[in-house]
Structures are given as C-alpha cells and as structure tokens.
C-alpha cells in the first residue's frame, strides 16, 4: 500500500486553469477551494470594504475577531488570491468583465434580482467569451416561481425535503449542522465544472451552467420520493429509528445509549439481523413469527431496542464498535463529538487533518479532502488576507 498512498502535487489536473470567483458564502467558495486544491489558480473578487461576508462570521481563530480570522472563511478560501473590486456597481461590473477573457472558469452567485439591478443578461458573458465556463450558483436557479425568493440553509433544507426527515416524529423537524446545502452545492458545482472542462477539451466550447441549490438537494435523496411513488407511503422522520412502514422498514437502524455515550447501529440485511440476534444471545428471535419480516421487526423496534440496550449498557462505545464490527460483522459506529473526531485513530491514520498558521498565535486545524489518490495530492494554500493580491492581479493590467 505504501507506494499507492504516496500522491504528488507537482502535476495536478487543473494546472494552468484560471478561475475567477465572484461568489460569497460557502457554495461557490467551497467549489473554488476544491479547484485550487487540484492546481487551478483561483482569483477571488471581494467587495470593499469588508469582502466576503463570511469573514464576519464566527467562530474566529483563537477568538480574535477580525476579517482575516473567520474559521468559515479560512476553510472555504484556502489557496486563493483575494482582489478587491466592487462588482455591484455598473462601473465595477465593467471592470470585472474586462478581466473575464483571461479566465477559463467564472464562478458567480448572481440571482435574478441582482442581474436585473446591474443589467446583466443570463448568458451575456459566455456569448462574448465562447470558451468560458460560467457557473451560476444560486438558491433556486434563474427561472421559476421561487427565483426571486430569499433563502438560508434552513429554508433550503425545508424546501429540499431534508428537514422533514430529521428529528422525532411529531416534533419540530431539525436541520443538519452548519451550511450543508451550500457544501453539497459546492461539491455539485465542482463536478459540473469538471464535466464542462471535459466537454471543452473535446468540442472547444464553453458553457453557461445554471446550478440550483434546491435541485441539488432534490437529487440527493435515497428513496424519499420512491416510497411515495412506488408504495404510496409517506417517508417520515423517526428520531433515531429508521422508517417503519414500507419495504425499506428494518430493524435496527437505531442509536442507543451505552456506558459513555451513544452508538449508532446500521443493521439492514437479513444476515445482519441474524448475527445481531446471535450477538445478544437471542437466536430464538430468528424463527419467532413475531420477528420474521423486516416490517414486523420495525414495528416492534421499541422492544428490540430494549434488548439491545441491555447488551450495550455496560460497554463503552469503543468496545461495542470493535466487538460488533470485528466479531459480528455488523455496521455500527460510535457517535463522536468534535473533540473526539479530531482524535479519531482512523482519521489520523489517513492523515486527514492539517494545521494552518494564519499568523503569530493564530493556528487552526481543518479536514483536507476525503480521498487519497496515487497521483494527486491536494495542494493546500493559505486563505488570503482581504485584498492581498489586488495589485498583483489588477496592477499587471
């Protein structure tokens, strides 16, 4: 394995590719970060005086509250250049447009309201720059009844069908942490750009790519809609229990307390169920007519949770994880909090974390990328100070 683990970043796939990022928040910038890690030169345009609004959002590294110190900004803007230019004025937009021909890719987040205000047509820039790949990253896309709506991560999760599925049945539906719709859309945008680059290599043609955050979420459901269309059953949120009705029902996808926290079980196949019974010493359940189908087991999940809780109550998360995985071949996992995630031996073995020094006394740890590749080692640069590269980029003109 040693040979394969060793990547290199001397020769990355996007070497020589120039990206202009005119996008704030997380979705567009996360995409820009990913492209930078693969060798692209990413020039981030920031509006004076404060720049990307995430610079003002905590948590702040070492609690030092200033615009070059936000954890959210720092993570999502590693390896970019920062140029100050106010594109929200008609004059500034003209200056920005004069930069576009020097770039292969433009990432922007201009919704319909902004486009109307500034007077910029949907495909105006790609029409005048035929090789340009422009990706528009907005909450709802540039057409349709919601196109002028305002959004937030919670609103996206609500409309995208994620919120309804998380939390206890009958209680308030719960959001996923942080800015998941933005991260997902950033990943989707990165994929879209790679596909468009492949197209451009073949046909020589750039494209205008209209990405919608809502559509991103709507394609990232496992069987939420299929339960309705194939079975006529509404998929519900169900706390830490999996769906009960429908052919997706099973025991036990469940999270239970043990001696030092919570453990998540992911038992979903017949043979896993049988091994679970053997593990807790209740092989009699395998042939018990009350438990011989997935639906019956799901319907009786409270009783089964009781049995399983008894088995795990005196064990630690670690003991359970090792025993269930190594001896019984069952998918389980300890629920870790962030203080434990950063010490997790598997993540450490795969060297996923890296420290970055922003300045004297200002160091933070971040997760790099979720992959290890034999020929690609992500290139990680520092996040830029506001306007750090204005002169380099604009002065050269």
């Amino acid at each position: 394995m040693g040979e394969i683990r060793k990547g290199n970043n001397n020769n990355l796939p996007l070497e020589g590719t120039r990206v202009l990022e005119v996008s704030e928040g997380v979705a567009g910038p996360y995409c820009g970060r990913y492209l930078a890690s693969m060798g692209a030169e990413v020039v981030k345009i920031e509006r004076p005086p404060l720049g990307d609004w995430t610079r003002e959002i905590g948590p702040f590294i070492e609690g030092i509250r200033d615009g070059d110190n936000s954890a959210l900004y720092s993570y999502n803007n590693q390896g970019k250049k920062s140029v100050l230019l106010d594109w929200t004025s008609v004059n500034g937009m003209e200056n920005l447009q004069s930069l576009v021909p020097e770039f292969d890719i433009l990432i922007e987040d201009w919704d319909l309201n902004f486009r109307d205000d500034i007077g910029i047509e949907r495909t105006e820039l790609v029409d005048s720059n035929p090789g340009l790949i422009e990706i528009s990253v907005t909450p709802f896309g540039l057409s349709g009844p919601y196109a002028r709506w305002k959004s937030s991560p919670l609103v996206q999760l609500a409309l995208g069908g994620y919120l309804y599925l998380t939390g206890e049945r009958g209680k308030e539906p719960l959001m996923l942490p942080g800015r998941q719709p933005d991260y997902l859309t950033g990943l989707n945008a990165t994929a879209a750009i790679h596909i468009a680059l492949w197209e451009r290599e073949r046909s020589g043609t750039g494209q205008f790519l209209e990405m919608s955050m809502l559509e991103t979420l709507a394609t990232l459901h496992q069987f939420t809609m299929e339960m309705t269309t194939f079975e006529g059953v509404l998929r519900m949120r169900n706390g830490n229990q999996w769906q009960k009705e429908s052919s997706f029902a099973s025991y036990g996808i469940t999270t239970l307390p043990c001696s030092d926290g919570y453990v998540c079980f992911g038992i979903s196949t017949e043979d896993q169920w049988e091994r679970l019974c053997a593990m807790i010493g209740r092989e009699d359940l395998i042939d018990d007519p009350n438990y011989d189908t997935r639906i019956k087991r799901a319907d009786n999940s409270e009783y089964l949770d009781g049995l399983l809780t008894e088995w795990i109550a005196d064990r630690t998360r670690r003991e359970i994880f090792v025993e269930t995985s190594e001896i019984w071949g069952l998918p389980t996992a300890p629920i870790l909090d962030m203080s434990e995630v950063v010490k997790d031996e598997q993540f450490l073995f795969r060297n996923i974390f890296q420290d970055q020094v922003l300045g004297p006394g200002k160091t933070f740890t971040f997760p790099k990328y979720p992959y290890i590749a034999s020929e690609m080692e992500p290139r990680i640069g520092n996040p830029p100070a506001l306007g750090e590269h204005t002169e380099d980029v604009l002065g050269a003109k």
Binding site: E199, A218, L234, L336, Q346, F347, F366
Partner: protein
C-alpha cells in the same frame, strides 16, 4: 468561431465499469450516464437487482447491465476483458471483498495501464477500521454529524438521509473526472480511495477549525443559530405541516414582526440580534402561535413577498409536486412495463447531458450481457452460450 457541443453528451467517449451498490456509487455513475458515458453495471447474477421499491429504478437509469460471476475464472476473464476496453472502474465494497476477488489497482493496471480505479469503502482502504462494515448513517456518526443535531437535551440525532452516501457520490464524480483529465495529460492512470466517513467530515470544516482553536464543542439546540434569530420550523394548520423561517437581520425581523402583529411581541425588546437571542424562546412561541392557524403555502408566499426567508417543510410527496421544480422541468417521468409511469428526480448538474427524451430506464441483471460480449469483446454466440452454461455470465430472464 462558434463551435457546438458534442451531440451525444459531454462524456460520450468515457466507459465506466460500475461494481458499486446501494447509493453513493450508483449516484455518481448515474450522473455520468446522464451525460452520455457508457456505464456498464456489473451485477452478480445471484443477487436480485430490481425490487418493487423503486430504489434501483431511480439510480440505475442510463446504464447497461452485465451479469458476471467474478468468483469464477471465466467470469474474471470477461471482467478483465472489459477493463481493457474501459476508462474507469469503480467499486464500493469493503476492502476485503475486492481482495478476495483479487481485484486491485495492480491487477487492473496490468491489463489496462492507464485505468482509473476508484474505491469508495466506508473508512478508506487502509487504517484501523478499514475492514469494518459501514453505511451512510454510521459514516456520518464518526464524522460528528449527529452530535450537532438535537433538541438541546444531549441526545444526538442521526439525519434521516444516510448522509455519508450522497456527499461521497458527489466527491466521486469530481475525482473520476480529475483522474481522467490527468490521464490525458500524463498518460498515467491512478488509484483513488474515497472514504465514506471522511466525506461528511469535510462538510464541517468550520466546526473542526472552530473546535481546534477554542476547544469548545457545539451543543445543538433545535434549529437555533448564532447568525439567524429567530430561526426554526413552526407548525402550521394541517397534519405535520411546518414552515421554516430564518431571520438574518433587523429589517427582516421588522417585516416579520409586523406580519405576526402580536401585542405581546411588540411589547418585547427585539430590535437587534442580541435582544432577540435573549428573548428567543418567547419570540418562537409567539411565532408558533401565529403560524398554527395558517396555511403553510400561503404563509411562505406572504413572508417571501415581505422579504422574509421562508420555505415549506416539504415531504417526499410535496417535493414531487413542488411548483418550482416542476416549472423548471426538473423531474424525469418514465414508464416501465411492470410499474407504469413513475416520476424520478432529474439531474441537478447542468451541462451537455443527453436529452431527457432519450434517457433509458433501468436494465435488469444481465439484460445487456450478450450485446456487450459480442460487440465489445468480439465473442461469438456459441462462446457466449458456453460461458453461460458454466454460470460465468448470465443473460437475464
């Protein structure tokens, strides 16, 4: 010089051998198939692919299917013959499964020197947990996601999404395309190892960075946020109907407060974020009192018209009927002989896809075996039959 896009889709010159199962892998290859790549799904003839619940229909459109026994010598020969004709091989088993089948990067490289081989196991191909079974819900647990979801009582809640999978699928598309791009530049293939558990972790960059600098973990409290207040899902009229609302700033709050028009609310100090955080519980209660009598769809429109971020909490059934998604022609309506017309999610990645009218439905196990063996590998009809009699290949029902 106006060139046109490739008529058969951006990825029509790419062939992918798809050994993936369940969700993450099939999602990635589905996207590539929609863009015209030749996806050859390899199924074990002993395992049923199609089921009545729609999951496989949803994920396996625009793919061909060949039924091969990889554990039989003749089946392996077929597989290696296909590798020689392919650009990418992707799998998402536990590492042991591929090892037992003697399928690894070296073996594939020896028949196709520039092959891109992608593994998507639970924890990565090496490390202390690498052989542990995993799926989306246990993967998100070790990344800390459930520790950041909850009602404030300390009980972690898993997402209803199996969240490791969709993120890993999106990463896979980008990494496959990056690998192919590098291959075209350097002539070399590579091995790419994407850990299901690391994918959600990389969507929590600001949490890792924030923890590393403060050593404080975040305790979730419903849908509350440090940035938006008030924020939450509020119950509306009808069964399990909720509206998601996020208030970002004082102006948005004034607009909402005027609509709620509750004297008790007007008597509270709420004009800035600090005051609203202090009175958060009372404010939430008064909003909930207001929304409980209202229709969710009408209220979302009313709030958005008044510049307040809001969206309905859509169930799977509501997602299918969403007026915005339908207006943008997002869905894919397809008729299967056995199941009739069904509605599936479309593709959220914009670009030069094959037109929806030309998309094909799911092929059952072995449906395309013969055409693949004859057209791609040049086998004769009688040789195909002899392989089938040895159970190395399966030609379907």
């Amino acid at each position: 010089m106006v060139k046109s896009l490739i008529s058969s889709g951006s990825l029509s010159d790419i062939r992918v051998l798809d050994l993936t199962r369940v969700w993450a892998g099939p999602l990635a290859t589905r996207v590539m198939g929609d863009f015209g790549a030749d996806i050859i799904k390899i199924s074990d003839p002993r395992v049923q692919l199609l089921s009545t619940n729609g999951l496989n229909h949803k994920l396996n459109r625009n793919k061909r299917n060949i039924g091969i026994r990889l554990d039989i010598a003749e089946g392996r020969e077929i597989f290696l013959g296909l590798v020689e004709k392919s650009d990418v091989v992707v799998e998402n088993f536990r590492p042991r499964v591929m090892r037992n089948l003697k399928i690894d990067y070296e073996a594939l490289k020896s028949v196709k020197s520039d092959i891109i081989f992608v593994s998507m196991p639970g924890f990565g191909v090496d490390g202390p947990y690498s052989e542990y079974p995993a799926f989306g819900t246990t993967a998100e647990a070790v990344a800390g996601i459930p520790s950041l979801i909850g009602y404030g009582d300390g009980v972690p809640i898993s997402t209803g999404i199996a969240y490791g999978d969709p993120i890993s699928g999106l990463n896979a598309i980008t990494l496959i395309m990056a690998g192919l791009r590098m291959r075209n530049q350097t002539g070399r293939g590579q091995f790419i190892d994407i850990a299901l558990s690391a994918s959600p972790l990389c969507n929590l960059g600001e949490y890792v960075a924030g923890y590393s600098s403060s050593e404080k973990i975040t305790i979730p409290s419903g849908n509350r946020s440090t940035e938006y207040s008030p924020q939450g899902a509020f119950r509306c009229r009808g069964r399990d109907q909720w509206i998601g609302i996020s208030v970002l700033n004082d102006n948005e709050w004034m607009n909402l407060k005027n609509l709620v028009a509750d004297p008790e609310l007007d008597s509270l100090e709420t004009s800035n974020l600090e005051q609203r955080k202090k009175n958060e519980e009372i404010i939430e209660g008064l909003i909930a009192k207001w929304t409980s009598r209202l229709d969710v769809i009408e209220t979302v429109s009313l709030l958005q018209e008044n510049g307040v971020r809001a969206g309905s909490v859509s169930s799977g059934a509501q997602l299918l009927e969403d007026p915005h998604l339908n207006d943008r022609d997002f869905f894919f309506d397809h008729e299967e002989e056995e199941y009739g017309w069904k509605r599936y999610d479309g593709n959220s990645i914009p670009g030069n896809r094959i037109p929806k009218s030309e998309w094909s439905g799911t092929n059952d196990v072995g449906a395309n075996s013969k055409e693949i063996l004859i057209d791609l590998l040049g086998y004769t009809e009688s040789f195909c039959e002899s392989l089938a009699s040895k159970e190395a290949v399966y030609f379907g029902e």
